[in-house]
């Protein structure tokens, strides 16, 4: 075990899987010579060569399509989007080709591909470059969607995603690339997709949080602990398939839930989780499920407004106090 950044943990996963399986290759804008816009692919071109680490033109739909074709032909491509904001251009290949191919070919063509890159807000990159669009991809049967919140989860989940035979959307968070944590250096260390992690145990309220909201939820839980409220923090880690059972088990214990997310509230992941809780644990709820979401506006550029648009510790604390009937 060593303490590394999220960026380094992702780099380890890429390198280990590319060394392990020669069918794995990496393709995207600036991934090779520049070593990645966020330096996630540092050192890979030098070690693995330009057949395995490939720079593309600024053509998201094109290289996403190349990746899908390569996957159908038996390779295991990793497609990096410089940010998921640019994946919007490639959604036809992701949704109409990658997600549907196994089904429409009657099981003849697997598409073992990973689309990865940073998602969500960064620092003052404004409306078009600050989007959390996991609910889009989670909507479609045929895709798996992963959002790690720690370096260890990032490494273990990315390795599982690369080994998975289905297309996986792997969303990192730009603000979290520098976060540090202990990470295993065992090349066989993986974390299965579809298994939530209880980041902190508690008895009075459950906070479901993913990605950037996990450290916020843990800080909120510290604050609430001082106020006598014991919070359980659950990180689903994989949005699809969703480990709803772990969430339900927690809700049945605490009877109160807050779902925190960086994305817009409308038709989001929290709406789906909240709905499933009400369908399956209604009689265990002592309060309405409460969401804490990003502001329902395009992300402002101004620093002060940007801060207000992203949920923080205070909002999570307030929401937990509300469902615990303390305010």
């Amino acid at each position: 075990m060593a303490v590394v950044t999220m960026r380094e943990a992702l780099n380890q996963a890429l390198r280990e899987e590319m060394l392990r399986d020669e069918n794995v290759f990496l393709m995207g804008e600036e991934v090779a010579a520049y070593e990645g816009a966020y330096k996630v692919t540092k050192g890979l071109l030098a070690e693995l060569g330009d057949k395995r680490v490939i720079d593309t033109p600024i053509t998201e739909l094109g290289f996403a399509g190349l990746g899908v074709g390569a996957a159908m032909a038996g390779l295991r491509p990793i497609i990096e989007f410089m940010t998921f904001n640019f994946s919007i251009l490639a959604t036809d290949q992701i949704i109409n080709s990658a997600a549907k191919m196994l089904y429409m070919s009657g099981g003849q063509f697997k598409v073992p591909i990973v689309f990865r890159g940073p998602s969500g807000s960064a620092f003052q990159v404004s409306s078009q470059h600050s989007q959390a669009i996991e609910s889009w991809f989670s909507y479609f049967p045929g895709l798996k969607v992963v959002m790690p919140s720690t370096p260890a989860d990032a490494k273990g989940l990315l390795k599982s995603a690369i080994r998975d035979d289905d297309p996986v959307i792997f969303m990192e968070q730009e603000r979290m690339y520098g976060n540090k944590g202990e990470v295993s250096d065992d090349v066989e260390f993986t974390i299965p997709l579809g298994v939530a992690d209880i980041k902190r145990e508690g008895t009075d309220a459950t906070i479901v949080a993913r990605s950037l909201m996990v450290p916020m939820a843990l800080k909120a839980a510290d604050v609430l602990e001082q106020q006598g409220v014991s919070c359980e923090v659950i990180d689903p880690r994989t949005i699809r398939p969703l480990d709803i059972e772990t969430i339900l088990k927690s809700v049945k214990k605490t009877n109160r839930v807050v779902i925190a997310e960086e994305s817009h509230p409308y038709f989001g992941v929290s709406a789906e989780i909240g709905s499933q809780i009400m369908e399956r644990a209604f009689d265990y709820l002592d309060a309405s499920v409460r969401r804490v979401s990003g502001a329902d506006v395009p992300m402002p550029y101004a620093k002060n407004l940007e801060e207000l648009a992203i949920p923080g510790v205070d909002q999570i604390v307030a929401a937990v106090r509300e469902v615990a009937y303390l305010d």
Partner: protein, 447 residues
């Protein structure tokens, strides 16, 4: 403000029996409180000195509101006082508002509560900020409910799904729970507090078999629970869909009262002190008939039908602004003179609202008499969970046919309302037959 009756939501301080600075010891009466049902004595739950009185004679407070502080003579109560000062305006002006549990706990405590609570307590009881926030009605939409819904929200029960399930599982009537959530919502802690306060779960034995033995005639009647049969369950299920939650049916008969009136006159002539009334005789006869028809002295309890050994008869007494039914316990074992003096005492105290809860809760059968108002005949509504109620009309001379002759007799019409889930038509009719037979021939009382 402690809960002094099962349905109490607020209490009016009738008068303080102690002054500030008086020493009080555990169990000593502190004040008299008017509840919705009666005037009750509030006792001290600890030893100390009555340091501060927070509501004065004649003022009302919702359940759980801090109304006085008992502590050591030199104890610092300033933090408790400052909490109350911030909270008081909101409370005084909104008596209907749901009380917070924190104060229910704090009020009777012999020592002022320390500011810092152990962590695990904080959630269950809620911190004192509740009160100040609830008074601030200009806040978010969620909170407006608690300020705006006063008075009217009582009609509709607001309850969290969890609290509803917990109440159902422990057999608690949600109408007896006061909600501490927003808008008076009943939440988990309200049910937990009630369960903690009331001891063992009430009378729904899972296996359907339970027998309670009575220790003395003054106590509530002993009973035995018989399992609800499939047929009985079907009858119960089908009939509740017809007429309200309790499927009533009504049986009416006319009773010749000449001999009963004669007996009453005879007894009162022997001893004018006894002051036996016709109603006393009716209670005595009803109790005797119930002894012969235990199927009528019964109550539908969802999973079991409960048959009582003794007839605890509720006697409806009209009082100002309402009515109350004090109970003659084990009326089947008491003499006519005992019944008469008990009813006189109970109805006198009922009118002065001085009944204790055990004196008006838990009858097995009721009698309601509107004869004194000149009502010939009426139907009464069953007082759940009792199985039946007898409605007594006025006694009046009427022409009747006896041995082919038209003669004048004192006639009285009675109507029994039966809960069809426990009493069927023929069962009720046979009871009324016996009741009529004894009342027309009171000598049966001594046979």
């Amino acid at each position: 403000m402690p809960k002094l009756s099962p349905t109490m939501e607020e209490g009016q301080l009738s008068r303080w029996l102690k002054k500030e600075g008086d020493k009080v010891s555990m169990g000593e009466p502190l004040a008299e409180i008017d509840t919705d049902k009666a005037t009750m004595e509030m006792q001290a739950l600890g030893n100390g000195v009555l340091r501060k009185i927070l509501i004065q004679d004649g003022e009302s407070a919702p359940l759980g509101q801090l109304i006085a502080i008992i502590g050591e003579p030199d104890e610092d109560i300033s933090s408790l006082l400052s909490q109350t000062e911030t909270a008081q305006p909101a409370k005084a002006s909104t008596p209907d508002k749901a009380p917070t549990q924190e104060e229910t706990q704090a009020a009777p405590s012999p020592e002022p509560r320390a500011e810092s609570k152990p962590k695990d307590e904080a959630l269950a009881e809620g911190p004192p900020r509740d009160e100040t926030n609830a008074g601030d009605s200009g806040g978010k939409g969620d909170k407006a409910g608690s300020a705006g819904g006063n008075g009217t929200q009582r009609a509709r029960l607001i309850v969290s799904p969890l609290a509803a399930r917990m109440a159902a599982e422990s057999g608690i009537d949600l109408r007896s729970v006061s909600g501490s959530g927003p808008g008076g919502r009943i939440i988990k802690r309200d049910v937990l507090d009630l369960v903690a306060g009331k001891g063992p779960a009430p009378a729904t034995a899972e296996d359907g078999q339970r027998t309670v033995v009575q220790q003395s005639p003054a106590e509530p009647s002993a009973f035995r629970d018989a399992p609800v049969s499939e047929m009985r369950r079907t009858i119960a299920k089908r009939l509740v869909t017809s007429l309200g939650p309790i499927p009533h049916f009504f049986l009416t008969t006319e009773i010749e009262m000449d001999r009963a009136a004669e007996m009453r006159a005879g007894i009162n002539a022997l001893d004018p002190e006894l002051k036996i009334s016709i109603n006393d005789i009716i209670i005595k006869v009803a109790a005797a008939a119930l002894r012969q028809h235990p199927q009528v002295n019964a109550s539908f309890q969802d999973k079991v039908v409960r048959y009582y050994e003794h007839a605890d008869i509720g006697v409806a007494v009209a009082i100002e602004d309402g009515l109350i039914t004090p109970i003659v316990r084990s009326a089947d074992q008491k003499s006519l003179s005992q019944i008469a003096s008990e009813i006189r005492d109970l109805s006198g105290r009922a009118r002065n609202r001085k009944l204790r809860p055990e004196e008006f809760i838990g009858a097995t059968f009721s009698v309601s008499n509107l004869g004194m108002f000149g009502i010939d005949e009426f139907t009464a509504v069953i007082n759940p969970p009792e199985g039946a109620i007898l409605a007594i009309g006025a006694m009046a001379p009427k022409p009747v046919v006896r041995e082919n002759e038209i003669v004048v007799r004192q006639m009285m019409r009675v109507t029994m309302s039966c809960d069809h889930r426990v009493i069927d038509g023929a069962t009720g009719a046979k009871f009324l037959q016996t009741f009529k037979k004894i009342l027309e021939n009171p000598l049966f009382l001594v046979v």
